[in-house]
Amino acid sequence: MKKIVGVAICLVLLVTTSALAGGGQEGAAAKPVTIMLRASSKPGLEKIMEDYIAKYPERQVEITRVPIQNYFEQVSVVHASGTASDMWEYWGVETGGYYVDKGFTADITQWGKDHNWDTKFSSASLKQFNRQGVQYGMPLTMHAMFLFYQKPMFQKYGMTVPKTYKELISIVDKFKANGISPFSVGAKDKWHLMRITDSLFEKYCGPKLRDELLVFKTTWIRPEVINIYDELRRWGEQNYFNPGYLGVLQREAKILMYQGKTGMILEGEWWEKNCTDDGQDPSIYDFFIFPTDWPENRTSVFCEGWLFNGKSDNVPAALEFGEFYTSLEEQKKYVMDLAPPSAVLGVSVPAEYKIMNKVIGMFPTLNAFAVTDQGMPPGLWEEYAFVQENILTGNMTSQEGAEYMEEKGKEGMR
């Protein structure tokens, strides 16, 4: 009996001590600003944090880095469990818009106005984080997609930068005639193949229709979509892509480009830094916008930014840190550690990054469309990727592909 009472008392003490251990933080220093971002992203953040704390010793910042493979899942889990950080790195358009619609983001429109964001950030990047007039994100970077090629290879085969889609196809045919796969694609990373499909959508639909299709504002069962899928299938049948592209990752596909086994690759301006990091010579590469035969000749663009937790009471402090992070001084100081190009106007990169500087120079006049994996509602872009694969393997006809997308758009995946 004594033993039982003794054990019971121990249990009660154990439970009580555990319950009390978590508390006791009342009356401590100002709440730290908590930030979540990808593990591989923006190594300069910690450096900026140090500068911030040096300037404001009473303030604190806590950073959590999550592996990229799990990042989307982690973001949704922390919001579902109410443990989301004050601010987190994310993308805009429909990807970030999903969190706006669910009420997880703070409305920072007034903050943006008070801090002159219209002169601080590029308008294209601000637009990516604006949903029906509500500014919900602070832009950090802006990236654009281009077709990169090796200049020596173009010279060798007497090619010039194509201005029209027809000229692009004639270059493709020349590459094929010389035993070189025209495009390097790692379709196992669906978004890499998606860039090609997106470009064909832009070409056959034009800006207005393409933007409407992206958010299912119009029917997908239409001749333009059928033509796109017919053309995509033709690209696959005519071996425009590297052999075995369906089983290859993007990081494997770029090696084929380095080896000169493929002619072109649809990548972002980071291609230059990739080359440098991979021990390749970036100076042999140049780029052009995928010709779509429309006056706007848009290219796909996406931005990264900070989103702010609408359920946090620490958003003002988080915004203060965000402003410091995106100040011209800090952005210029650590530019190459912040995944440039910066969305902050006036931030250039070192002169040796010729391609990146060229792209930054283009930004003010660049016409852009959102990449599908961010511009389409979450879940629906997976269906877009599913259809593109089925079209290329002949498992779906173009009509079936269009009908499938129409059906999925109606069902909605939210």
């Binding site: 033993k3 039982i4 019971a8 899942e73 997976e382 995946m413």
Partner: protein
């Protein structure tokens, strides 16, 4: 009530063990039972996995899985193929290896180590290595086939519908052979010697000894290996996720990966938890009767 009745209700001898077990039971309940029950309950809701609002939809998630979700049936088929392949092929290889490495010969310890080694590598690392080996242009497999003049046999192993899932199974088998071999080896080492001597005296050959002595003696080992094979076949996730991400065209999805994508990528937690519930039911439906049957046979043979 009398004091003797009170004693029966509050018998210290009977209650004491439960008191000592209670912290573990509480922990188990919190981290296992509660999430499982909650998961089953969530399978009756339409929920995006984040919002506070959940809509009760009854069996709708299950109805959609069974009648409107082709990927569910592809995943179930793939899990079944995985299980059958592992049961018939992989385990046979494990047993064969164990039989060979149970014989005394110099260097057998080294060979045991070599065959066991893949098991200690993490599955993600294995998937990355084999992913490179399967590369259509730069991979070892197609390169070797080219070198011996069999270029026509080269494939887009992970990008071709016909070969993608088989390629994943080969990778998973390569990794799992070591542990199966170890189980069978430990079983073989407990076999009594005298029945084999008697059988030899009676004129039985090696094959007859194997089927009439070794297999029956290894019954307990088979129970363990088969049960673990069934469970691991249905909960397989990492090798598919790392090698193919369920593609191409969702054709290599298994139930665990489809559950993951539905829950976390498609914001369809109701469907994801329904798949999880079905997964548990399927595994129990296969494993429990088998274990009970084997246990009954084991008791009756004693």
């Amino acid at each position: 009530m009398t004091s003797s009745t009170n004693k029966k209700l509050f018998d210290p001898v009977k209650i004491e063990p439960w008191l000592y077990l209670s912290p573990a039971i509480l922990l188990y309940a919190l981290i296992l039972f509660y999430p499982v029950i909650q998961s089953i309950v969530l399978s009756f809701y339409k929920w995006d996995g984040m919002s506070a609002f959940k809509e009760f939809t009854g069996f709708n998630n299950y109805r959609i899985l069974f009648f409107k979700d082709p990927v569910f049936w592809i995943s179930l088929k793939n899990n079944t193929i995985f299980m059958v392949t592992f049961l018939l092929v992989t385990n046979s290889v494990c047993l064969a290896l164990a039989l060979i490495l149970n014989r005394p010969f110099s260097g057998r310890v080294v060979f045991r180590g070599i065959f066991y080694f893949p098991y200690v590598i993490s599955m993600i690392a294995v998937a990355l290595i084999w992913g490179w080996m399967y590369h259509p242009q730069l991979g070892l497999i197609n390169e070797l086939l080219r070198a011996v003049g069999l270029e026509s046999l080269g494939r887009t192993w992970l990008g071709d519908l016909k070969t993608a899932f088989a390629s994943v199974i080969v990778t998973a088998s390569w990794k799992a052979i070591g542990i199966g071999m170890v189980f069978f080896l430990s079983g073989l080492q407990t076999l009594p010697v005298s029945p084999y001597e008697s059988a030899k005296l009676d004129g039985a050959n090696a094959i007859q000894s194997f089927f009439y002595l070794t297999i029956p003696f290894l019954r307990e080992t088979f129970v363990i290996v088969i049960t673990l094979t069934v469970i691991s076949s249905f909960k397989v996730f990492d090798v598919v996720y790392a090698m193919t991400w369920g593609g191409p065209m969702r054709a290599t999805n298994v139930l665990a990966t489809w559950m993951y994508f539905q829950s976390f990528r498609n914001h369809n937690a109701g469907s994801g938890t329904a798949i999880a519930t079905l997964l548990v039911i399927i595994m129990c439906a296969i494993a429990i009767p088998y274990i009970m049957l084997m246990s009954r046979r084991s008791v009756s043979s004693q």
